[in-house]
Assembly symmetry: C2
Homo-oligomer: 146 residues x 2
DNA sequence: AGTGAAATTGAAAATCACATTCAATTTCAA
DNA sequence: TTGAAATTGAATGTGATTTTCAATTTCACT
């Protein structure tokens, strides 16, 4: 299946860090990968429970942190106070629909460059950033117009 | 004193909304204005307690919400999960020092314009945004280099 | 295969920041 | 002065996450 690379990557991380390979970790990674981006621990928990009814919420929680450390997932904190996880890939920022919750990724070299220039003016060393545009997606704008 | 305008502005808002003018509200606004930007409810509470030892945390909390509604303060949620309040003024974004907590405001018409162009490409209607650069300020970079 | 030290699990309890409840108090228009 | 309505603040609730800890599992080494 298409999860081989990630499962192997997890195993490698676990070995390198003297951590143990468990059914739970494997199942949680699988559930996370099967979902499409920006999922919450809660959602992963329900999904993983279908096949593994006795995996606890705490374990999902801890495992998602682990996957982040292992470089397989990234934590995102959008407005609303719930942590979401996305599959780790190139840097990007987000458009977040306040009505339907849809999350669109975007990337803009121009903005990236400009923000570094701004930081330079303050002799500020940027380590990371977040840039989120909140509003209404196309579909919601249409529905609201009705 | 220099708070006259804001105090009057608060009074006006209270009248217009059939709310009452209380010592607590006045004191909390005063404490907020005396502080320099990006303060937490917790901090406002300690400050206001100096002269008004029996004002409760809940009241500070509620009053800060009120000041936001009245257009005198703005709520900000930086990484770390604590709400901070700043004196309401023109739109701007932030540089946040992860070491000393210093917060620098910046504004960039170019970025504002570019992000609207990006949103347009997705037919996304932007209602608000957040753009925060996290890293180390000049002073901290120097100290870290020692 | 068996052993045991170390890691992991999961239920429950703790934490953290914020929000709500409610009885007592205060405000202010009449 | 009065009393209806708003406000206060202590205590309690909430929601998301985090920690605790006893029981279980993993895995390097017999």
């Amino acid at each position: 299946m298409s999860q081989e690379v990630e499962q192997r990557s997890l195993s490698q991380y676990l070995e390198e860090h003297n951590l143990k390979h468990t059914k739970q970790r494997e199942a949680i990674l699988a559930a996370f990968l099967e979902a499409t981006g920006h999922i919450t621990s809660e959602e992963i928990h329900s999904r993983v429970r279908v096949d593994h009814p006795n995996i606890g919420y705490t374990t999902v929680y801890r495992t998602m942190k682990l996957l982040c450390d292992a470089g397989l997932a990234t934590e995102r904190h959008f407005d609303g106070g719930v942590t979401r996880y996305e599959i780790e890939h190139e840097h990007h920022d987000h458009l977040v629909c306040l009505r339907c919750g849809k999350i669109i990724e975007f990337e803009c070299a121009m903005i990236e460059k400009t923000q570094l220039e701004i930081a330079d003016r303050y002799r500020f060393r940027v380590l990371r950033h977040r840039h989120e545009l909140y509003g209404h997606c196309d579909a919601c704008v249409r529905e609201l117009a009705e």
